[in-house]
């Protein structure tokens, strides 16, 4: 473990620094957010010598407001973290995917792939999702314990998204490793490819993410090459190859960026909703018993799991004009970070927000964001979480967590890396 950096200690309300991944790794962010909502709902984090300063938004209504004005609070200047003060050499390149695009181009690009994500598309894939889920569970069924993350929760989203993209099963483990590298770059566990003396350092994190992206993009360039020679019509990659925006075909860079986004966005988030969901159910025995007695409560239970876990900690926007939020002036060019776990426990919106209630209604959580960039995969994510818990609790009704979850060091993904569980084997 590296020592806490001086930048991590920069003074903030009550000493809270949302740039510090350890706050989240220790699962102490909810307490920090509670304090911030009360004492400093819109506060400026000065950043460090490396990272830009940024505004932190922790109130539901403020986050909603920013999400509703994508033309003022734009995504194209970066959506994760507050951004580096200096772009490392060789790292800005022309192509971008929808998540870093602004209106009006954004919605045109989104509509290209939209068809694959509609409620109907999800419904059609449901039997397949259930089949995959049971194949995954078959692999652990004869044992009485496993690492729930490696063997269960990560495997379903991986199979679903790779299946949608038409990737052969032999490539799935690589996709798993690369998404870990890209989104978990700040965690030493995923820095295996950097020199030993760099592990755990800032440079180790930057190199890990860059290496992950380089290999992911290289992989998809090869896949595209293959599709051009042997065209297919049944997968996302092929749809993108055939698509046009304003009468123009997408560039190779655009398609690769889109594929990269789908694999990364589809994997890490859903995995952690499932892992976090199991932890929540194990910690709330009464709610769990209620769910196991009444499986038809599953849809609202899934919403509560999403609110409770908020798999993405934040998204960032940049203001393009001066704005006032809750009486605080935000200047054009400044970064704004929207903290979803805080919005999802906002006392002004949710009754008894620190209570895990599988029948909560209404439950207008912001785990999937809102508006222009509202999660494209929300329907799939909901179906995957629901089907996983339906099958898991049916087949392993006594499954329980037996040790401390090993959490990811990140202020971006609410990640669980390992989760030991035990259960009665099936006979």
């Amino acid at each position: 473990m590296a020592p806490i950096s001086p930048e991590a200690l920069s003074a903030l309300p009550s000493g809270i620094n949302l740039l510090e991944g350890r706050l989240f790794q220790a699962n102490q962010m909810h307490e920090a957010f509670r304090v911030l909502r009360a004492e400093a709902p819109v506060h400026w984090n000065p950043g460090t010598d490396r990272f830009n300063g940024f505004w932190s938004l922790v109130k539901y209504e403020d986050i909603l407001h920013v999400s509703k004005h994508p033309e003022i609070f734009i995504s194209s200047k970066g959506i994760g973290g507050s951004g580096l003060r200096e772009t490392p050499p060789g790292q800005s390149g022309g192509s971008s995917s929808i998540i870093t695009m602004d209106p009006p181009r954004h919605v045109k690009m989104r509509r290209l792939v939209n068809k694959g994500f509609t409620p109907r598309a999800v419904l059609q894939l449901e039997p397949k999702i259930r089949e995959i889920t049971n194949t995954i569970l078959n692999r652990i069924a004869h044992r009485d314990s496993c690492d729930f993350v490696l063997e269960v929760s990560s495997q379903l989203p991986l199979a679903v998204i790779c299946g949608m993209m038409g990737l052969e099963e032999e490539h799935w483990p690589l996709m798993f490793d690369l998404t870990n590298q890209i989104l978990g770059s700040g965690d030493a566990e995923y820095q295996a490819r950097v020199a030993p003396d760099k592990v755990g350092t800032f440079e180790g994190a930057t190199l890990t993410a860059a290496d992950g992206n380089r290999r992911m993009n290289g992989f998809f360039r090869e896949i595209l090459e293959g599709r051009r020679i042997h065209p297919r019509d049944d997968d996302m990659v092929s749809i993108l190859l055939e698509s046009e925006v304003d009468g123009e075909r997408l560039t190779e860079g655009d398609i690769v960026a889109f594929c990269n986004l789908l694999v990364v966005a589809g994997n890490e988030t859903t995995r952690n909703a499932i892992s976090g969901g199991l932890i929540a159910l194990c910690e709330h025995a009464e709610e769990r018993a209620r769910l196991q007695d009444q499986p038809d409560l599953m849809p609202t239970a899934v919403e509560e799991i999403l609110r409770w876990t908020s798999p993405l900690h934040h998204m960032t926007r940049e203001a393009t004009e001066d704005q006032v939020i809750r009486g605080t002036e935000i200047k054009a060019g400044e970064k704004v970070m929207m903290w979803y776990p805080s919005a999802n426990r906002d006392e002004d919106i949710f009754d008894d927000p620190y209570h895990f209630d599988i029948t909560r209604d209404p439950n207008d959580h912001l785990a999937f964001g809102f508006g222009e960039h509202f999660c494209l995969g929300a329907g799939f994510a909901r179906a995957e979480v629901r089907i996983m818990f339906e099958e898991l609790l049916r087949r392993f009704p006594d499954i329980r967590v037996t040790g401390e979850p090993e959490r990811l060091r990140s202020n971006f993904i609410n990640g669980v890396k390992h989760l030991p569980v035990t259960f009665t084997p099936e006979r």
């Binding site: 509703k68 939209n114 994500f117 509609t118 409620p119 109907r120 999937f368 508006g371 509202f374």
Partner: protein
Amino acid sequence: MARQVEVDHNRCEGHGKCVLAAPEVFEHREDDLSHVLVDDVPEALVTKVDRAIRVCPRQAIAWRD
């Protein structure tokens, strides 16, 4: 004065939150999109429509003015 509401089909992605909020006003059709069932929204349904507008995750619904 009676008000009309509309759904922007360039943005709607059929999440159906509007149908849950105001089933008298919105309907989910074969095309996977939400459709408005009434010309003028009756006074009694205005609050429900306001809620639909608020919860539509794609911000596809708006009052016509």
